[in-house]
């Protein structure tokens, strides 16, 4: 309750400062900065869930690490799809490249230090993003979908064929990861892995939240909303889009690297088309363009997938499909849209 009170008083002072006493409390709602109530609720729930898992959920630490990785991956896609309005059905290429970068560096070059491995993975994925982005961003809509898919398939097949380097279909076994800071070894319970991925997730989320509230982040929303107008106010749209493409690719690469480090294995699945589709579904499920929607979507999707595939290994995709159909039909703005409605119902005045 104290929290919602604070939100209320914050928006009240905001309006007072602007000198307008008009209707809506949120100043930045169009730029996904308002509705901060929902964001706070989701953020609090996620932090609580993370803490509870840490303290009482020992068997779930490894799953927790995987969920955190999926969250980073989803965030990278939300920045691209939800904010900048670029569509992609090939983002697994960056995730997979990040994973293979760490794996190959460890197995073939003996580069086992984890933090520099993350940076290396981010850099190589970012570089691939730069190279492919120049081409992908020449197209729009379906063309973008096709091109992103095409690049992802190309890299997938290269990884499949380059067996001596990547292990091909068998995957890259025995990825060794040195202790973090030379102190914290990756244990079989997954505590280090869990804390490590949570820490990286925290940094990435902070970065993303700040960025989306910055003039840069809002200019991306501007491009999504109206490209022609953005150019007419003096923006080099192409450059701006390419920059977020690279950033998003690098973040996806970091997520992939975390998967390689925490599971000590890299398989072709990390590059697979299915993963590109899944992460897009996650963003849509959570609610695109809101950051916290994608994060919530990643958690819900991962947990559903884990539970359902345990309960019904053969037909779990059926139940997943059912869940998605229900969400799309009844909450077109995703899970975060449901939270918005809930908040509005609790505070009828604020919902105008």
């Amino acid at each position: 309750m104290a929290r919602t009170e604070r939100v209320k008083s914050m928006s009240a002072t905001y309006n007072a400062a602007s000198g307008t006493g008009v209707s809506t409390p949120s100043t930045w709602r169009g730029l996904a900065m308002g509705r901060s109530g929902s964001d706070l609720v989701i953020a609090s729930l996620l932090v609580l869930a993370g803490l509870a898992t840490l303290l009482f959920g020992e068997p779930y630490w490894l799953l927790g690490a995987q969920v955190a990785i999926t969250m980073i991956f989803a965030l990278s896609v939300d920045l691209l799809v939800g904010f900048a309005g670029i569509v992609t059905l090939g983002h697994a290429v960056f995730f997979g490249l990040g994973a293979y970068t760490v794996g190959i560096a460890s197995v073939h070059l003996g580069w086992t230090e984890p933090l520099s491995g993350l940076l290396l993975a981010g850099a190589s994925a970012g570089l691939l993003g730069l190279g492919t982005g120049v081409l992908v961003l020449r197209t729009k809509g379906l063309g973008q979908l096709m091109l992103t898919m095409a690049f992802a398939s190309l890299v997938y097949e290269i990884a499949n064929r380059a067996k001596p380097v990547t292990g091909g279909a068998d995957g890259l076994q025995g990825v060794i990861v040195a202790p973090i800071f030379g102190l914290f070894d990756f244990d079989i319970f997954g505590l280090t892995a869990f804390l490590y991925t949570l820490a990286v997730l925290g940094i990435v989320v902070l970065f993303a939240v700040l960025m989306t509230r910055s003039p840069y982040g809002r200019s991306l929303v501007g491009i999504r909303e109206n490209r022609v107008r953005m150019q007419a106010i003096g923006t080099n749209v192409q450059q701006r889009l390419l920059s977020i493409y690279v950033v998003s690719a690098a973040l996806a690469g970091v997520a992939g690297a975390l998967l390689a480090q925490t599971s000590q294995f890299v398989g072709l699945n990390a590059l697979h088309f299915g993963l590109s589709g899944e992460v897009l579904i996650i963003v849509a499920l959570g609610g695109a363009g809101r950051l916290w929607g994608a994060l919530l979507g990643a958690v819900v999707f991962s947990l559903f997938k884990d539970r359902l595939s345990a309960l019904d290994p053969a037909y779990w995709y059926f139940w997943l499909g059912l869940l998605l159909a229900v969400i799309v039909l009844f909450a077109p703005k995703g899970l975060i849209g449901l939270v918005d409605r809930l908040m509005a119902a609790l505070h009828p005045k604020e919902a105008q």
């Binding site: 008009v22 169009g30 730029l31 960025m211 910055s214 003039p215 840069y216 809002r218 929303v221 003096g234």
Partner: protein, 251 residues
Amino acid sequence: MTAAILETRALHKNYGALTVAQNINFTLEPGTFEALIGPNGAGKSTFVNLLTGLVPPTSGTVILDGADVTAEPIEARVKRGLVRTFQINTLFNSLTVAENVILALDEHRGQGWRPLPSPSRRRRIREEAYDILGRLGLEPWGNREVKELPYGRQRLVEIAIALALRPKVLLLDEPAAGIPSTETGTIIEVLENLASDLAVLIIEHDMDLVFRFAQRITVLVQGAVLARGTPDEIANNDEVKAVYLGEGIHA
């Protein structure tokens, strides 16, 4: 006469055999309010697109503030002070009115790459945005999404964005289009209060508006300049009268 802020020399555009701009020589000085008129299909929009850089000319040059900008893209010309409004509202519809203006302010200041927020800066720029909105009577709408506004108000947001870019040359593409004549009052007021050193080129069908404000009028017909002069000269020009026969041109 002061040096022209915007100039075209023998600006020409054709698509194969179809000529849409014929060797247009045109100058616009700071502080002048000029109107571009002509029947539908006369090439007014093409001329504007050539000026802003949306369409590359077949030959000829565009000179803006002393620099040859013929090869420059749209955004570079905007940075030099050539700002346009659109005939059909081209706005960030699901953003609020204030956000629309703030985006323009940020880009104008070169803040568009700034990856971190700064609350104090934000407050300043918000005040500035509301300043501009205040001039257009849009202040009460600042927190509303653009798409919630009536069309006439949205037309004003077009102008608010343009003003936020501190233009040297302002191209107004039919600012009163789509607004019932009873509601053009605000637009007229806004036009009256534009900065005195601003060069304005207005494309407008509403002849009342044109003859009320324009110090000079250029008449385009079939992609070529038919006549150019003061409102009186244009109103009494027989060729112009012939073109506008039945459309009721009057001073």
